[in-house]
Amino acid sequence: MSALAARRAGLQQLRRRAANSTMWFVAVLCVLAAILPLGFVLYYVLAQGASGINLDFFTKLPKPVGEPGGGMANAIVGSLILVGLASLVGLPVGILGGIYLAEFGNNRFAWTIRFLSDVLSGVPSIVVGIFIWAMVVVPTHRLSGMAGGAALGVMMIPTVMRTTEELVRLVPMSLREASLSLGATHRRTVFKVVLVAARGGVVTGVLLAVSRIAGEAAPLLLTAGSSPFWSTRIDQPMPSLPVQIFTYAIQPYDDCHRQAWAAALVLVSLVFVLSVAARYATRGRFRMVR
């Protein structure tokens, strides 16, 4: 090889090595850039929210806008009730539907349902709110906890259905065959054997769905609305933490902001605990595309 060619080859090698190192550098930077916002958000929520957390926050009702003091006890309770109502809608459809897909799901109808479930998970939450508004709020002429629960429930369905199906599928055939060969009916096999085996995963799937809807505000604006009072009747408007955060954050009063941050802290803590627990338990088993 001539000296020139040798030198060019050497330069080429250098360039290749440099490109390789640059790749590493840029990739690490990107990961840091991706995680940094999380740090910022969490930091501020903690810093700003901590000062608003006190006993009053958890026990008192909101004061009229502008007056300092008060709390968000009704919103906390309201959120819990709404999640409960949502589960009444979301869990049966999600779990039983997921069982159908896993046990009987090799036909065109099942594939259509799977596709539509994916479609549903992609529908913007505000549109789901509009849907329930038209189906429940308009006929009943009022905003209600019932409507809010329905909206959140509809949003739960795709997550619960997909999780249930995947986990029921994972239960090995041998377990089913053992049960069936002992003379058990299919449904008994599913409920007593398969679901029991999959229950850990199904529960965490539910937790994941709950963590997702607990923070939703958009659909609730159109369905459950808000209320400054104690509200446990499902046929009345029902306050919730996410809606309260929104309402208070856009007010011009500092005290409102303080309470909004506190509510954000509570919400984030709740959602994180659920989310982390759910993901930790299902890690590696399957990937969920949200």
Binding site: R8, A9, Q12, Q13, R16
Partner: protein, 269 residues
């Protein structure tokens, strides 16, 4: 068509005198974590001939092959001990540039693995990254490599077509062509025909005969007839050890070790 007697037909007898050693392996041991896959293997691979490695599944022959171009490096938890000399240089020396090594020692895999690009792009990939040629020089290089792999006539009109449109046998020859494009000294083949039909297998064996005039070839195969047909020297592996190594004619007709004899006569594996 391969006749029954071909299994015992000795390949051209090695002219011991005028062929130097290309690769010298001394006391090579390899560990996957705590499992020892290769135990103290030593042998010498002669240049410009075909050396075959045979043995039952899991005996370490593929692991050994991959040690020759340090493909084992990409496995996590792998440890290599011993010396492997290519033209006198230890390839496991920390100063060695693995990228340069793999230019000189190329590999063809069991299942054809063409890139999701055109035929031309596949062959041009390696010359490009190593900066060997550009423009019309590159086109010539690609044509030349395809000719050496006996594939040119079949693809000269569809160089832009996706590599996936070729048949299995053609894809494997494409992979060979890809390796030849960077002008290696050694070509390692890991069961190159096991995923192919008999006709394609035959063509690749013919190709090997042509290639050995210029390149050193080491082939792992579980097909003993193939080993007997194509190779000049053969090594028999068992449980990570090299049991016997010598001229193919001898290994298949008159082996020294009983285990070798049991294997080549089909008593196990």
């Amino acid at each position: 068509m391969v006749s029954a007697s071909a299994s015992l037909r000795p390949a051209s007898l090695p002219r011991q005198g005028d062929r130097g050693t290309k690769i010298e392996v001394e006391h090579l041991s390899f560990y996957y974590g705590r499992f020892q896959a290769l135990k103290d293997v030593s042998l010498a691979i002669r240049e410009r001939q075909i050396t075959a490695l045979i043995g039952p599944s899991g005996c370490g022959k593929s692991t050994f092959l991959r040690a020759l171009n340090r493909m084992n490096d990409i496995i996590e938890g792998a440890r290599t001990e011993g010396v492997v000399r290519l033209d006198g240089e230890d390839i496991y020396d920390p100063a060695v540039d693995v990228v340069a090594l793999r230019r000189r020692v190329g590999m063809v895999f069991q299942r054809p693995n063409p890139f999701p690009m055109s035929v031309f792009e596949n062959v041009a990939y390696a010359p490009r990254i190593h900066g060997l040629a550009r423009g019309s020089d590159l086109e010539e290089l690609v044509e030349d490599s395809l000719k050496r792999a006996a594939l040119w006539e079949e693809v000269k009109d569809k160089l832009k077509a996706s590599a996936f449109e070729l048949s299995g046998g053609q894809q494997q020859r494409l992979c060979i062509s890809r390796v030849l494009a960077i002008d290696p000294a050694v070509v390692l083949m890991d069961e190159p025909c096991s995923a192919l039909d008999p006709a394609s297998t035959l063509r690749i064996e013919e190709l090997m005969h042509e290639l050995q005039q210029k390149y050193t070839i080491v082939i792992v195969t579980h097909n003993m007839q193939q080993a007997a047909r194509v190779s000049q020297e053969t090594g028999f592996f068992l449980h990570g050890e090299l049991i016997e190594f010598g001229p193919s004619a001898m290994i298949f007709t008159d082996p020294t070790d009983k285990r070798t004899e049991d294997y080549v006569t089909g008593r196990f594996g």
